[in-house]
């Protein structure tokens, strides 16, 4: 596709910017602030920079509410990724990013480049990426298209992560018709660094060089940020040209080279940033803006993959595997030589200038001359009005499950794709490269050791759109709490989160209400758990034909394990160990997997959530684990007790014998704030003293491999390991073929 540049006058009349996601009002705002008619390049840059993806123009008022500072936070939102102090001179760096739109259109490359993009964010801070996680949501596997998306998205994540050599240590995959046309692909990367080596994306110092390094710029993903800031419809063919193609080999070289620069050439380096959404324009303008300087770039010097590219294309291309550096004048050769050793294209394309103008030249002509701030901080911010969706005002009646056959329901529930084993998916990811992975996928959270220390990090991703659909605020708090529960179960203290906010079109008041309310819920839980939001992104416009997905914030939680000896897994380990259920169970079924299984849908008033009790329980359980009183731990979440005990049995070699004194349906209740722990008999006294009445002894680990559940009234439910395994492990594979 050859773009033709219109004159400023024609732009004003023909309004091509409408197709790029800019409104007439926004055009007028830009023109007025500029004081003249903008040319084709200038208004094109505005369309990328003022997209939701770059400017957060609709979500900013919401994001400002997030709590993002505490005693450990070294760097919060605003840079490539957030940074938290973990002691011993080390820091953890992490961020998650959504790649929903590209993955819906081109699942393999969409997912792969999502992984590539988030990895660049981590090493741009100077951290070595050490782990990947993901959070995926799909429609039902009964649809062939969903199976295709799942297969290709998993292939894309693996294709990139495996090749670049960063282990994928955890994640989640959920299924609900809500995501049938808008799959969610959120990728999270965790890095570790010496805390005194933090880098920032800043371009300061008049005359300092701007160096472009990495892949050549092509016509792929042009204005992808705007593409990701619109909805899908059947009437419009999805725009394949807006999806990028990944090259993990190139990124491996780029990563190794950039880490060498940030570690060994600190005197030469002023700032570094990756070229992500809105490519060269966002990285260069943001670097200049944050430093308060101007910038001049000569676009003829930008390495280009194809001839005839115009400035609009060069600046807005989202070609992958590119970084932008600001290097002290006089040190250019030192840096260029380093990149040459890695066989990477690296070129000085401009310099930092005095004043505050962003100037671009192309073929000897000045093609852009606008104040930097006009592209960045002067972007519009909209204070939307939220309106409570009607469904929340009048929820349907409480779901009261009738369980005719407990055993059959149990097996059907753990066979549901959302609950069932994800092994057939995660076995396609290299989980062990770098040889740091202490807990592989399949536990509550992935755990990696921090080399050179006795510390370890636990990380997980969590979301539950169903809870938020029924109550955005409470559901938002629950998602954070569940993520924290997951890392606590591995022996980690939760220390911070990143998030991807996946919602529908924010200009619709009902969608905005969901966004705003859930942010409040997330914030309340973050404060209670002392887990600040240090990074994240938003993905709005997840709708097709006017129907939005469930409001689905994804929480990526990181926890700190003080001593590798505290690492705890879900597998039952010793026959005779006592099984304790921590936290009270209630008749909490609205929004549950059980409701979905038995009725095909979810609805009703979301059950109660006691945040204070949740925090107290988590603290007590963590203390019990750290004191060495616990031999296995698992959090209770989707699928309730039934799912949790099944997983604990299947993860090890032993069975369990439990007595369930509550009503049978509550085996599947999703009451929050609960853990299932195994405790050696010798520790029973200490454990009971620590947990008190909050823990109920419900059974023992048995030497046989099977599971026996005694229900009220003397009914026995016996599960052989083979039937549990079949139901749990075949949930996804049997629906894929």
């Amino acid at each position: 596709m050859q773009r033709v540049e219109m004159s400023p006058r024609d732009i004003a009349i023909k309004k091509p910017y409408l197709d790029w996601g800019l409104s007439v009002c926004e055009y007028d705002r830009f023109r007025t602030k500029l004081g003249r008619l903008p040319n084709y390049t200038e208004i094109g840059l505005a369309s990328g920079m003022w997209s939701e993806h770059c400017a957060y123009k609709y979500s900013k008022p919401v994001l400002r509410q997030f709590w993002s500072k505490n005693e450990r936070v070294l760097m919060g939102p605003g840079e490539g990724a957030g940074v938290i102090d973990i002691g011993e001179g080390k820091a953890v760096v992490f961020k998650a990013e959504s790649h929903n739109h590209p993955s819906a259109v081109e699942p393999y490359e969409g997912a792969a480049t999502g992984v590539g993009g988030i990895i660049r964010d981590i090493f741009s801070i100077g951290a070595e990426p050490v782990a990947m996680l993901d959070s995926l949501a799909f429609g039902e596997l009964t649809e062939p298209h969903t199976r295709h998306l799942l297969d290709q998205i998993v292939a894309g994540i693996g294709g990139y992560g495996n090749s670049i050599g960063i282990p994928t240590i955890g994640g989640e995959t959920n299924f609900d018709p809500s995501y049938a046309r808008n799959p969610l692909v959120n990728a999270m990367c965790v890095g570790v660094m010496d805390k005194d080596l933090i880098q920032k994306g800043r371009a300061s110092g008049v005359g300092n060089a701007i160096i472009y390094v990495g892949a050549k710029t092509g016509r792929d993903g042009i204005n992808g940020a705007s593409f990701a800031s619109g909805d899908f419809s059947d009437a419009e063919q999805a725009d394949r040209a807006a999806v990028q193609v990944g090259d993990p080999f190139m990124e491996k070289l780029l990563m190794d080279a950039c880490l060498e620069v940030t570690r060994k050439h600190r005197d030469a380096l002023v700032g570094i940033q990756d070229m992500g959404a809105a490519g060269l324009i966002s990285s260069s303008a943001e670097m200049a803006d944050k430093a308060g300087f101007g910038m001049e770039l000569n676009l003829d010097l930008v390495p280009q993959r194809e001839p005839g590219m115009i400035p609009f294309e060069i600046m807005l291309s989202e070609s992958q595997e590119r970084m932008l550096l600001c290097v002290r004048a006089g040190s250019e050769d030192e840096i260029l030589k380093l990149f040459k050793r890695y066989e990477l294209d690296a070129v000085v394309i401009g310099h930092v200038s005095d004043g505050h103008q962003f100037r671009l030249t192309h073929k000897g002509k000045l093609v852009c001359d606008v104040p930097v701030s006009l592209l960045t901080s002067d972007a519009p911010v909209y204070h939307q009005h939220g309106e409570r969706p009607a469904r929340l005002a009048a929820p349907q009646a409480d779901f009261v499950p009738e369980i005719a056959d407990v055993k059959q329901t149990w097996l059907a529930l753990i066979n549901q794709p959302t609950v069932a084993s994800k092994q057939s998916l995660y076995r396609r990811y290299d989980a062990q490269v770098k040889t740091n992975t202490v807990q592989l996928p399949g536990g509550d959270a992935g755990v990696i050791r921090v080399r050179g220390t006795k510390l370890a990090l636990a990380a997980c991703t969590d979301s539950n759109g169903r809870y938020l659909y029924l109550d955005p605020k409470r559901g938002g708090a629950m998602v954070v709490a569940e993520a924290a529960r997951n890392v606590v179960a591995t022996g980690a203290k939760p220390i911070g989160i990143t998030d991807c906010l996946n919602y529908g079109d924010p200009t619709k008041p009902e969608n905005f209400y969901e966004l705003e309310e859930s942010a409040q819920g997330i914030t309340a839980a973050c404060k209670a758990l002392n887990t600040p939001v240090i990074s994240g992104n938003v993905s709005l416009y997840n709708e097709t034909n006017g129907k939005a997905i469930y409001p689905t914030p994804m929480v990526g939680m990181v926890g700190l394990i003080q001593d590798l000896q505290h690492v705890t897994t879900i597998a039952l380990k010793n026959p005779g160990d006592l099984l304790y259920l921590v936290g009270k169970t209630g008749p909490d079924f609205n929004g549950s997997e059980l409701q979905k299984l038995l009725t095909g849908d979810i609805g009703g008033h979301l059950f109660d959530f006691d945040l204070d009790a949740e925090v107290a329980t988590q603290k007590a359980v963590l203390r019990a684990i750290r004191t060495g009183l616990v031999s296995a731990a698992h959090d209770l979440s989707v699928g309730g007790f039934a799912a949790a005990i099944s997983e604990m049995v299947l993860a090890g070699d032993f069975g369990a014998s439990v007595e369930w004194s509550q009503i049978p349906a509550e085996l599947f209740a999703e009451t929050q704030g609960r853990f299932l722990l195994s405790v050696p008999t010798a520790k029973q006294g200490d454990f009971a003293a620590l947990l008190g009445g909050n823990a109920e002894l419900i059974g023992t680990v048995s030497a046989t491999a099977d599971l026996s559940v005694k229900l009220r009234g003397g009914v026995d439910c016996q599960f052989s390991r083979a039937e549990l395994r079949k139901a749990y492990e075949e949930g996804i594979p049997c629906r894929m073929s």
Binding site: S163, F249, R428, T437
Partner: protein, 228 residues
């Protein structure tokens, strides 16, 4: 004993292997870039896992043309020990230092999981500390690990006792369950499973240490014999 771990652009298990050799097995080792032109001072040269040159075209197809490969061939011809793991195995096959080829896994997907293996030949330089038919567990992580050789080649491999490791539950479709084998001379081994990922209990097991201990024992014996 001195060991080199070759590092191709795109290798990603090179540091893991260095750690397993040096820190965990006490073998004096260093990384050597694929641009190196000499491999004169090493008893053992390791070709690590990863995606050399992105493994575009075909696994190992580009790496075999690296500058270091001619020195590697000389080293092997002199009788020097060569250990190729995963992508290293693929490179050695592409370079003709080992017979056969590695095709896409039977299910066409990448597979990462702990895999039980049987040590079927303990006479080799790479397996002499294991016991005959010992079952060990090593992680695999590959997309193209499905070993193939023409029928007459395969017959020779078996007749010579070149197969060292076999899968207990063949995960990828490899002929004769072959997980690792040597050249006819016995000084070059290629294996798809990753022994360097199984050297610490913390990370799930130590069954891989035997490969490095075997090499160390082999080299020490050679040194002792030379001294006599």
């Amino acid at each position: 004993m001195r060991a080199a771990v070759l590092s191709f652009p795109g290798s990603n298990c090179d540091r893991d292997l260095l750690w397993a050799l040096d820190t965990m097995s006490g073998i004096d080792s260093e990384l050597v870039p694929a641009s190196a032109e000499h491999l004169d001072n090493y008893d053992l040269v390791c070709v690590p896992g990863g995606f050399s040159y992105g493994d575009y075209l075909r696994s190992g197809a580009i790496a075999r043309f690296s500058p270091v490969m001619s020195s590697l061939r000389e080293h092997a011809d002199r009788g020097g020990l060569v250990l190729g793991i995963c992508n290293g195995f693929q490179i050695l096959c592409e370079a003709g230092l080992l017979p056969g080829a590695l095709q896409w896994n039977r299910n066409l997907n990448f597979i990462c999981e702990p895999e039980p293996l049987r040590v079927v030949n303990t006479d080799s330089a790479f397996s002499n500390v294991y016991s005959q038919d010992q079952e060990i567990v090593l992680p695999i992580a590959h997309g193209e690990g499905n070993y193939y050789a023409a029928p007459d080649t395969l017959a020779k491999i078996e007749a010579n006792g070149q197969v060292i490791f076999r899968y207990v539950d063949n995960p990828n479709g490899s002929l004769n369950d072959i997980a690792g084998l040597t050249n006819a001379a016995g000084n070059v081994l290629g294996m798809m499973p990753h022994p360097e990922r199984a050297v610490e209990q913390l990370l799930g097991g130590t069954d891989g240490l035997g490969v490095f201990a075997s090499l160390k024992a082999q080299c020490e014996e050679a040194t002792t014999n030379a001294a006599r």
